[in-house]
Amino acid sequence: MNQPAILETHEAFGETTLIADPARILDLCRYLKHEEKFIRLSGVTAVDWHPAEPRFEVVYHLHSLERNLRLRVKCRLSGTNFEIDSVYPVWRSADWCEREVFDMFGIQFRDHPNLQRILMPVDWEGHPLRKDYPVHGHKYSYPQE
């Protein structure tokens, strides 16, 4: 627990980015919401850096109305088992955003209340926004073959 939750900080184009420890994302988000007044979670998304390691970056965009400030928090996920805690207990808007990231990238959010596909059909195979997912020539493109 003594390990700090924030690993690095970047500043570019007037935007602040925190690189956070994925194991402590929930604590960090609670702190940012309640102590630092980031009451809005503008969105959650991910970036696939395949084939580089760590492969995924989960990106949270926070917004404080009171301080008129935006903040980006990123968590890097490596290995083969892409899992991170859901921030749904902190902001309910994470619900659909995390479902979308799960649907598009296959990242599992622990303790999410309803981690189902949201944009793709429920029985879809694969995660379309991964870099190793083809743009053309998926098996559903040619149903007769």
Partner: protein, 412 residues
Amino acid sequence: MKRTLDDDPVATLAAPVAEPANPAAPRLMTLNMGPQHPSTHGVLRIMLELDGETIRKAVPDIGFLHTGIEKECEQKTWQQVVTLTDRVDYLANLSNNLVYALAVEKLLQLEIPPRAQWMRVMLTELARINSHLVWLGTHALDIGAMSMFFYCFREREDILRLFEMFSGQRMMTSYIRVGGLALEPPRGWQKMVGKFIGAFPSKVDQYEDLLDSNPIWKRRTQGVGFISLEDMLDLGVTGPMLRGAGLKWDVRKSEPYSSYEKFNFEIPTRPENDVYARYQVRLAEMRESAKIVVQALEGMPEGAWHADAPHVVLPDREKMKTQMEALIYHFKIVTEGFRVPAGEVYQAVESPRGEIAYYIVSDGTSKPYRVHMRTPSFGNLQALGVLLKDTLIADSIAALGSMDFVLGDTDR
């Protein structure tokens, strides 16, 4: 792909339809609304759990209009992506063009001349009026005030003609490009825009007269569709929904972009937090937008309509025929596109529906590495379950319409 009810998590929502243990307990009915229901303004499906006429639970099911735009963006060159952003929110395409262009220009560190910035403001405000007109017409139609639709679409037609005059397209304008505008503004645009915007405020008065003197309209909208401000902020709702609950927040004021700080306008708010308040906020926003357009028209700066960046902006036709460099730049931009330095940006603007933000990652090549679109309809629609809980099913149409979502914007 075929979807069966058995795999559908939403359809089994109220699975225990068996006789309740206590015969006096209410028996819930599950009703499927959409995806072809006309009042959902697109392909939205909602599973409603009804206790008589009262909605006990509403679960929106989205994704029917998913077209993989974010994936597609990764295959196009930076400038080509502009045409895809049009198709995200097809009622406010210029706002989408603008947010994308601003984000990429931030990465490129391009300086946009004042004339192009003002022109962008003017056009996005016309797009806001256009979007609010479509909303007002269809929303009133849903509630039963049919004639509003004709009046609103009459004015909308004028705006679409203006867009056609500027860009050659009525809806998919792609007029705001990285580095400025797509084309030089056409000759005589001041006269055409001035003619429209001079007459427009009186048209808004007409709409207001027509609806506010109608007791049915008031009974159907006042006190309907309440959702607390805390819930909305927690669920990611933005835009006129928040302003209808009294929160004075508009990205144009709080984080001005494209010289919005030089324009004089108000953020209309209402404290009532119901369908009627959202209607009043949007009407007031149309008036404010008209004020901005007039200011842009009167104070339009002279100068270039695109940035002085030959490696990004296509050269003039004339220069291409006379200058070697212009021809080389033209060839390079058309064949491989321009490169954008590696980095990541997040750019938010106020679209007619709320906060629209693009998160763009570049790896230094001529195609975006990742484009994430945080769209207002996605955030707003998430609150639908809370908004519709314990309301009457007849009111659900009014409440749903007051959110003003676009399904293309939700599903991307």
